[in-house]
């Protein structure tokens, strides 16, 4: 027997979130599943005839290096996404931990954390990556790039989370929990975390954007490991071989369209989620 339910107002359908999630799901699922259906290394040069037009066999044709543009793009999306998610997991974990603990523990600990936050916000990531790229001479492994992005990217998120912790600290229900004898960790875990959670989701997606963008920016100017297919390295090669001038516009337009779709998708997901969450909590 079903319970008689009250006519509940349907939650407002969020268009942004829907569009964003659709785009991201298609790109993520496609780039993660499709590689299982090919045995060819898309980065290997001279696999196919050069400069073939699009056909059933080569959906986007082949480029001046004899690579299949479609498959290269699939691997590029996958690698860029994996890098973005890895970096974002690291940054979200570090910034949440440091931001919350600094906001709640306070005192000397907070001051030290804040000085480091301010410093890491000041240090520009791109030049640091350029120096490191110059020293290891383009042999930058993907892990090194990810590690550096984490080391130099946590501070912005940590700062936001700390300021959230500072305002939450003074709220009634926190005092209530404290007077009831709850320790710092249970308060952070049970009382604070639900509030910070929404920001973490948004911050997580935005950090993916930051990581993909920084690596791609580095690759486009030829200072990342351009042998690995990423959304940046594909453009680096296309520019290097003057794709447009030699009559291969697809080589450069395909990654441009894909990048725009991916970034727009992730951005719409994050702002859409933010709106939805605000509506549900009655904040908006």
């Amino acid at each position: 027997m079903s319970q008689p339910t009250k006519p509940r107002k349907l939650r407002k359908f969020n268009l942004r979130l829907a569009i964003g999630l659709t785009i991201v799901t298609i790109l993520a699922a496609g780039s993660l599943i499709l590689p299982f259906f090919t045995s060819v290394d898309p980065a290997a040069q001279g696999t196919y005839l050069k400069n073939l037009p699009p056909s059933a066999k080569h959906l986007l044709g082949t480029n001046a290096l004899g690579q299949d543009i479609f498959w290269y793009l699939v691997f590029a999306v996958r690698n860029s996404l994996l890098l973005g998610v890895t970096v974002s997991i690291g940054i979200t974990a570090i910034s949440t931990f440091l931001g919350l603990s600094a906001g709640f523990i306070g005192g000397w600990y907070e001051r030290i954390v804040v000085v480091f936050m301010d410093t890491f916000i000041t240090i520009p990531v791109l030049p640091i990556l350029i120096v490191l790229g110059a020293i290891v001479r383009g042999n930058t492994s993907f892990f090194v790039v990810a590690a550096i992005l984490i080391v130099f990217g946590w501070a912005w998120n940590a700062r936001t989370i700390r300021s959230m912790a500072l305002t939450l600290r003074e709220r009634e229900f926190i005092n209530m929990a404290r007077f009831s004898g709850a320790g710092v960790m249970p308060i952070i875990g049970r009382e604070i975390f639900p509030y910070v959670y929404a920001f973490m989701v948004v911050g997580f997606i935005n950090t993916i954007l930051f990581a993909i963008n920084t690596e791609a920016a580095l690759a486009v100017i030829g200072l990342s490991n351009v042998v690995i297919p990423t959304l940046g390295s594909i453009i680096f090669w296309a520019l290097n071989y003057n794709a447009i001038m030699i009559g291969q516009p697809l080589w450069i337009i395909a990654p441009i369209v894909t990048t725009v779709a991916l970034f727009l998708g992730l951005f719409l997901t994050s702002t859409g989620y933010n709106e939805l969450f605000a509506e549900r909590r009655g904040v908006a």
């Binding site: 916000i121 240090i123 030049p127 020293i135 042999n139 963008n213 453009i235």
Partner: protein, 333 residues
């Protein structure tokens, strides 16, 4: 003397941030595998076709170590490095030996500063004006359209915007040059015109890149501010829409945007790298890219310290001028 105390506190924080930043940039590359001197020597050897004798290589190694400040143990190096940074002496550039790094940076700086300061200000002005109008009249259809434009522009990575602009305006409709050429010699009217013409594409992309964020942020602020009680009161007093929008809503919604403006002015040397490399524009970013390609570490370090310095200084200036803009901040109040 609350003010003096505040200023001193901020200044100490500023020095601390600079010190830690410079220290990190010193130690981090030394933790990485790879050795700049070996890299350079293998380059020279490749060019000399393995004809260098062992003694010549050792001599080269020693003189490189001296130039890079890589003699002695790591703490001696660190002390020397700090002393040189304080004197703003980054040693000679390797590619343009014996030109000092500081001269090269000084030559490149006006290009970057001129392009980036102009575009940052323009993008801020245009973006915020549009955001303000769209936010104040947020019920109108065209305000929604403007917001959608902002949403689409904002997340697009800079290099993509730049490529699209190049494809459209330099390739398909060849209005502007693919890469700029600047007339040498003293500043004349013709030279000024050619600089503006040749800088137009990089400037356009930078304005577009900053535009989306400014529109979105200002719109959100204006929507929130226009519901405030004092704006309603002004409406009941019979002020015009225009007065309320500029004198009531804008003046308050402007504060966070000033923060963003000053910070983005601090980040100009960082933001210039992509622009300058993509457009072959002769500024700090291009210098940095060339130095990275040639293994010119003195030059790279000089450029990085310049970027750290400008970001930290922007943050300091912001802290110092903020009380002037926001009457709600009373020091020690």
């Amino acid at each position: 003397m609350k003010l003096a105390q505040y200023v001193v506190q901020r200044f100490i924080g500023y020095l601390l941030v600079l010190f830690i930043g410079i220290t990190i940039t010193f130690f981090l590359p030394r933790l990485m595998p790879g050795d700049p001197i070996n890299n350079y020597i293998s380059q020279v050897q490749a060019r000399a076709g393995q004809s260098l004798s062992a003694e010549a290589t050792q001599q080269l190694r020693d003189s490189l170590a001296e130039l890079y400040g890589l003699q002695g143990d790591i703490f001696t190096q660190y002390r020397n490095y700090l002393a040189r940074v304080v004197r703003l002496d980054f040693g000679p550039s390797f590619t343009y030996y014996p030109e000092p790094v500081s001269n090269i940076l000084l030559d490149a700086m006006p290009w970057t500063a001129g392009l980036l300061i102009t575009t940052t200000l323009l993008s801020w002005l245009i973006g915020n004006s549009i955001g303000l109008i769209a936010g104040y009249f947020n019920k109108r259809r065209w305000a929604t359209i403007l917001e959608v434009v902002g949403i689409i522009l904002y997340p697009i990575p800079y290099y993509i915007l730049a490529l699209v602009v190049i494809l459209l305006l330099a390739y398909w409709i060849a209005l502007f040059p693919l890469s700029p050429t600047f007339l040498p010699g003293p500043m004349t009217w013709n030279k000024a015109v050619s600089i503006i013409y040749n800088s137009f594409l990089p400037a356009l992309t930078l304005i577009l890149a900053g535009f989306g964020w400014n529109v979105l942020a200002m719109k959100a602020l204006a929507v929130a501010t226009k519901e405030d009680a004092y704006v309603q009161f002004a409406r009941l007093k019979g002020t015009t829409d225009r007065t309320r929008m500029t004198n009531y809503v804008f003046r308050n919604a402007m504060l966070p945007q000033i923060t963003a403006l000053v910070l983005s002015l601090g980040f100009i040397f960082n933001g210039a790298i992509q622009t300058e490399v993509i457009f072959s524009y002769p500024g700090i970013g291009m210098t940095m890219r060339a130095a990275a390609g040639a293994g010119d570490y003195n030059l790279l370090y000089g450029a990085i310290i310049l970027t750290i310095f400008s970001v930290a200084t922007a943050a300091l200036i912001l802290d110092l001028i903020y009380p002037l803009f926001d009457p709600r901040i009373r020091l020690g109040g």
